[in-house]
Symmetry: C2
Subunit: 337 residues, 2 copies
Amino acid sequence: MKRVVLKQAIDHKPRADDFDLIETDTPPCPEGGVLARTVYLSLDPYVGSRLRGRHMGEAPPEPMVGAIPGAVVAQVIESQADGLTAGDWIQSMEGGWEETCAIAGEHCRKIDANVAPLSAHAGVLGMPGLTAWAGITQLAKAGEGDIVLVDAAAGPVGGTVGQIARIKGASHVVGIAGGPEKCALVENTYGFDACIDYKAHGWQDALGQALPDGLTVFFENVSADMAMLALTHAQIYARGVLCGLVDAYHTESQSQHPLNAGLIIGKRAQLSGLVVYDFYDRWSEYVAEAAPWIAAGKLNFAEDRAEGLENAPTLFERLMDGQNIGKAVVAVAAEEA
Amino acid sequence: MKRVVLKQAIDHKPRADDFDLIETDTPPCPEGGVLARTVYLSLDPYVGSRLRGRHMGEAPPEPMVGAIPGAVVAQVIESQADGLTAGDWIQSMEGGWEETCAIAGEHCRKIDANVAPLSAHAGVLGMPGLTAWAGITQLAKAGEGDIVLVDAAAGPVGGTVGQIARIKGASHVVGIAGGPEKCALVENTYGFDACIDYKAHGWQDALGQALPDGLTVFFENVSADMAMLALTHAQIYARGVLCGLVDAYHTESQSQHPLNAGLIIGKRAQLSGLVVYDFYDRWSEYVAEAAPWIAAGKLNFAEDRAEGLENAPTLFERLMDGQNIGKAVVAVAAEEA
């Protein structure tokens, strides 16, 4: 089978030529686990820092080399796991950049292939969507009349944040994204009221004009500085979710990501740190709630898709550079076996 | 009548010799307000920054000179205010460092002189107590089994925070204070499980030992750095209240008071900014709940008392230097007229 590997340990932002496509033996089915054919491989920003041993999370903090972890939507070929049989569809955060994955049973979540397009389980129904739902419904508790700001709004987290906020009753949803193409996606496909292009001249003034009454909820995906910018536009008692801080994945220094305590107090703000792992046990609940929204056309998504595992490195470099428009997903194999 | 005034505009930490005691005319009773004889004058840290035009709040941000604002417990001499007559007792945040105060009716809160010692309305039932109650019950929502850390624990806010947390069911309450005398007050009078002396060698290790299971709630009175120290001892999902940041009152620079966003996210912490003004309309609710705690011996307080208005400047300097043990209050006149 084919596998994409990291050629050597790196300490820079990953580039396409850091990876190799190799042929290797298909692994055996693990005891208590499954062997599954990868259909969709999700490419996510956190993998970039995880490769460099920088990601704060479940993975040990040391640079990786060789096989690369990844979230997958896959079909079971062989199973020694309770509750799973050949032909079943699963989503797993513990797949890899390879055609056939050997995955422990506890890391497999069985999915219904009929509730939504299969690739949605890599994005809007996958970890990014769960992140958005957890932050906006469980932490910020957005509801009727909220005015919501989210950055990295063209991405699968930010785009889903704004749409779920709207579904829950938010009266005004504003995004921040980089470039006119991303902003058009946010406004036209995701249906935000406005999207501010942070690469455009005068964008900070435009942001203020897009929030004439201030915001009541913000969802921060990018950096501490952006969180503080959001706070300057906040009504008092605003709630903020601190999520990925994507910038932190890319900085070479061990920055402290400072937030201004005086501003938080002055705004009486409530800030919550979000780590999506904590909500993995509520994933099925989220999918049950969100799949009908997709079917009803209320929750839309966009993909930046690569065809074939060999194109994963190029798409990953685009993701690392923020060039992707929509969720980065690799179609590794046809849905029909 | 006697009044203490600020001799000239200052931009340093106030010292006793920045003030003068003068004789001046007793003001007339203001239309819609009262004239009241000051019995207890509360000295509070925020006045130090307000004098320098640094306090973020309702007061305009410019240095003061002349008459000095202050919270008072006073008895009405003459009234043109609805609901108040001569002989009534009031608490007001808009009194002054003077024997007779002219106060607008909307700034007078009538108090029952019998529910607790009168001077308690300057501290544990006054603005410091309301601050503690608001933060620990309305923002952090401390309850059964919580493990609570509070700094500036010998002060009227911190000491009340820990005691209310205990009353609400906290299983373990730890304070931080400066010096053995303050720590003894916190442990013996306020009944905390432990108080760590931050002036002692090895205090950070001692703090860890006092919190073997980590904390679930912290109430930050001092600085962003102390908030981050608290977070390092936090269990995940800890709730933190960001309150006065006393250090900020004294710093000469316009510091940013940085909080580490990465640590907040890693701990999934929820931080809330607290400004006590927002809870002024719930003051009577607080007093109704807390006065019985005082009567029952569950909520204790300590005072660092000066006798006579002429001693206010010296006590204020002690407060600014953190030398006071307990609430700084000036007994301006006898309770019996």
